[in-house]
Symmetry: C2
Amino acid sequence: MSENAASAAEAAKVRPIGTLTVYGVGLIGGSFALALKAAGAVARVVGVGRSRANLDAALACGVIDAVGESDREAVSGADMVLLAMPVGQMAGVMQRIAPLLGARTVVTDAGSTKRDVVALARSHLGNAIERFVPAHPIAGAERSGAGAARPDLFHGRHLLITPQPETDSAAIDLVRHAWEACGMRVSTLDAQHHDRLLAAVSHLPHVLSYALVHELAQRSDAEQLFALAAGGFRDFTRIAGSSPEMWRDICVSNRDLILEELERYRAELERMAALLTAADGNALAHVFDAAREARNRWLRVR
Amino acid sequence: MSENAASAAEAAKVRPIGTLTVYGVGLIGGSFALALKAAGAVARVVGVGRSRANLDAALACGVIDAVGESDREAVSGADMVLLAMPVGQMAGVMQRIAPLLGARTVVTDAGSTKRDVVALARSHLGNAIERFVPAHPIAGAERSGAGAARPDLFHGRHLLITPQPETDSAAIDLVRHAWEACGMRVSTLDAQHHDRLLAAVSHLPHVLSYALVHELAQRSDAEQLFALAAGGFRDFTRIAGSSPEMWRDICVSNRDLILEELERYRAELERMAALLTAADGNALAHVFDAAREARNRWLRVR
């Protein structure tokens, strides 16, 4: 470990993690490994995943140091296990690793939904539930796979931890410090509250973007429509390039709150339709202006 | 004129425009001036606008060579007049310049809607209607004003011309060649068809983006919501930073076709709500996958 890395770990007031095991070495899991390595906050990273090609790539790029050939090999001796696969695979992995976890191994996740992950952990992690820290690093991009991983992905972004009554405070500290070493701003909140906020600012926009592209793509003149689409369309639909599997799992898991958000949005669209029908230019300009102002305020404080 | 510039103009098989007058020296009008200058395809640019500060900035940056202090001064001697203001100002400017236009001056516009601009030109341009070429350069950004202008804004983008039965073919050629010199791919189509296509891929997405930000900004916990918004939200809402005045005019003018598109989209959202309610992960994944594939195909051919 370099002197810089050592002092970075010192600054975060945490001993480096000896062995980190990452299930799902994609954008999030791979970037977590790279960021911890860059900060000198981890000694060794073991990767586990469904795609051998992706794991080989992760190994070749130095994202991980070893491939966990079995769950036993991957988990035994791990100080921290990060579950960074799509939420749909969470139950299976938890069931498999629960009997293999060491008495001090901390387990955490990076799922975009928290109520469901907490429920799964309760069902499947057994006694390890006390050392399970539900967490969500709010960072991402439409790219996926180990090749998309980068050490600065989390810098300046928010990590939300949704601890449970039984969660061990030392486990929370370990997870908090690891993500802080990646440059994240950490806060804690209730899992339900988390899921509601994310439904509004992340899950709903993804549904809206996918829906627009899907609706246009079904049309007989889709080719001509796309030919005339410009930069605004490209940005509006960037999130429609996200992983369908991941977003299927998020949508199914958090559907009650996403549906509530969708209802609010559909009501807003009904108001927009009324303004358009009435050709009410002043009211439209007022909506557009308020939206632009709110967005500009957000960009300034961001 | 430099040798390079001369050969660029030669390549476009067009004599350089002597004097171009731009009404509305913003992102589009200013970039048109800069692109023509870079191609050696214009000798002199006169700018006219409501904001003296913006015109002074345009002059200082070399976007324009002179400020037209009166319509008479601005228009007399112009070979081409580009109307690049918001559509809401179109009627007034047309009325004022109609009696001042030279017998060979070609007038064109850069409006995002074409049926309304054609109707306004019919009402207000008098005999000059034959030399009015309705056009729409599909390029833009959320920034506005002369300071946002850049010579490469139109490179590789589409220009749509919607000629009328009476439009002089030499006038069409002049406008076509000018925009080709800016690097645009030019095609012609019917004004109604133009407005329908743009309602789908541009106007509706703007309404959707404004609506999302507006709905969130009204809430009591707006600050917390925005604090957790990430890169996906930033891109989805980039177009909600666009000029409220310009988009008010577009929405009012093209409201019938935007409303049709909005109805189709609301029907799509109703289908999405049904899939969410049914927790139909397979169908959701199918929609997401089809959208991602369509978008990726589009990015490849773009």
